[in-house]
Symmetry: C2
Subunit: 324 residues, 2 copies
């Protein structure tokens, strides 16, 4: 059965169960002209929006399942919320679907979204669905909250700060190559690509530990670090040999003859955080959250990123995913 | 020059001026991972989302200009906010653009959005832009506020209420026919199609006048009235001869041999409001806002809409735009 057989209200009926995780915050959920929800007194509100397009961001049956697409469409938004240091609260989405898409596939897409919403306590409160012409388009908006004046901005990096990242880099793009080359194994890399984990808990810790500046790594470290340098009006110096990689990535690079730094600097969709803070604060953070690594430092400058490799320093240009 | 020539940050620079109308509510606007804004203490928050796709919702050069597309993409969302009785505050959007789109066209698209945001006092606080494959996709999310427990829902119609609508019906779809048939004149109808006016002021009046239930007429009156009847668990009886039409629409129907009721019941994108309230409250409303007309009444029932035509009553089935 295709979605063209069940119509708009059949579609809403098919997807509207298990959408509300924190009912005390939701006055009106899916099914009216708009959703109505409560905010926490004294908090500022955060809003992010992100779109995934079939063929550009995923290929069903090759790089993703519908379940993974739903999960990741929400994860990329939650990663932006994490990069602001906020908690996520509500979600609305718009799906442009091909009329011949099966109801089973639509349910899988929404199951993926609901699964990650359950994990992170986010309500799916509303949406819109239209007919796509050639390829599925999924746009998700996530709302969140943060204490007044505490949002982590790209423009906050201070001279003297350390530059640090969470976990390791490049796994997602390496996982994409595994899938595109139809290799077996490397499940950890594939999982990073299909089911990325937004760093919401770390984002909250960063706020409490006086972090000055954060960005999520969605377009490769080179691009994100340059954004911070430009927005903050400083130079970042990154130490090439301090960038952490997973054993799985090292193994894949050895096997497939790939450059791990190309993955780290130019690969997309890691959804880790890159952030800057005073060194003392970083070590306090590290006691509570071990999976963070210093990769560089903040210096007076004009908005450049320099990569230190042994004795040499050279500019690291943005080389991530470009959107046009 | 095309947008592929200026890149993502060139794109952001090209569109980010004149985006903030009420700076006192915005902490962080366009340019970071997310936007941060303030809400009014004691108010509940409203969120709506709506998507327009090139080829389905508009044809550039035939039914719309890029300026009109931008205006209407926001108008359809503001209409949903109006139907909730809320005020609109913030906006985020996602555009999937063809790389060969000219920078001039992109600016026109955004100028259309900014123009309507200025009129209704809405801030454009953030967005996402990706590459479209074949057709432009524009998704807008608007945030709003309303007093606690005052949102106008589809489920609130009470037996004994009158059913009323704002202004006249069918103009937008008639305007679309004018454009598709490449007729000259009928500027009023064309303007209704290209630059619909969301009924935000009326929505706020409805809240203050004890309105029980409202829906915006985006998919034709038949569809919207059926939604109210079903959600409220009542029957609506509509009087065919009470439905108001504009002189321009009557003139077009006479000329083009079109059925004005087909436009009213099945035409899309009028963005008027259909609402129910006690008769006394309606006449209080009418003193302050004359462009409202009683077209029917609410009766005990099982969720049907009946159309009264002289002595006859027959079910009015949803016949508006279906989304699959």
């Amino acid at each position: 059965m295709n979605i063209s057989d069940i119509g708009e209200f059949g579609f809403i009926r098919a997807i509207q169960d298990h959408t509300i995780v924190t009912p005390e915050t939701v006055t009106v959920g899916i099914g009216d002209d708009g959703a109505v929800y409560k905010t926490t007194p004294g908090m500022e509100q955060v809003v992010v929006i992100d779109t995934m397009i079939e063929g550009n961001h995923f290929i069903i049956g090759k790089t993703a399942t519908w379940h993974a697409v739903g999960y990741k469409a929400v994860a990329s938004n939650l990663s932006d919320i994490a990069a602001m240091g906020a908690t996520a609260t509500q979600l609305v989405l718009s799906t442009a679907l091909i009329p011949s898409m099966t109801v089973a596939d639509v349910k899988e897409l929404y199951r993926g979204m609901k699964d990650i919403c359950q994990v992170y306590g986010v309500n799916m409160v509303g949406g819109d669905t239209v007919t796509a012409r050639e390829s599925t388009v999924i746009t998700v908006t996530v709302l969140g909250e943060i204490e007044k004046d505490k949002a982590l901005l790209r423009s906050g990096a201070n001279v003297g700060d350390v530059v640090a990242i969470s976990h390791t880099l490049g796994n997602s793009c390496a996982g994409l190559d595994v899938l595109l080359q139809q290799e077996r194994g490397y499940e950890e890399l594939v999982k990073h690509h299909q089911y990325p984990q937004p760093q919401l808990a770390l984002g909250r810790l960063l706020v409490s530990m006086n972090c000055h500046c954060a960005n999520d790594i969605s377009d490769g470290l080179a691009s994100e670090a340059n954004e911070i340098a430009k927005a903050s009006g400083v130079n970042l110096i990154l130490d090439k040999d301090k960038i952490p990689f997973s054993p799985a990535l090292e193994q894949w690079c050895a096997y497939a003859k790939k450059d791990r730094y190309r993955y780290a600097f130019g690969g997309g969709e890691d959804y880790e955080l890159v952030f800057t803070m005073a060194k003392d604060d970083f070590y306090r953070l590290k006691k509570q959250y071990d999976d963070v690594t210093i990769i560089g430092s903040v210096h007076p400058g004009t908005g450049m990123v320099l990569l230190r490799d042994g004795d040499k320093e050279s500019p690291l240009q943005p080389q991530g995913w470009t959107h046009f």
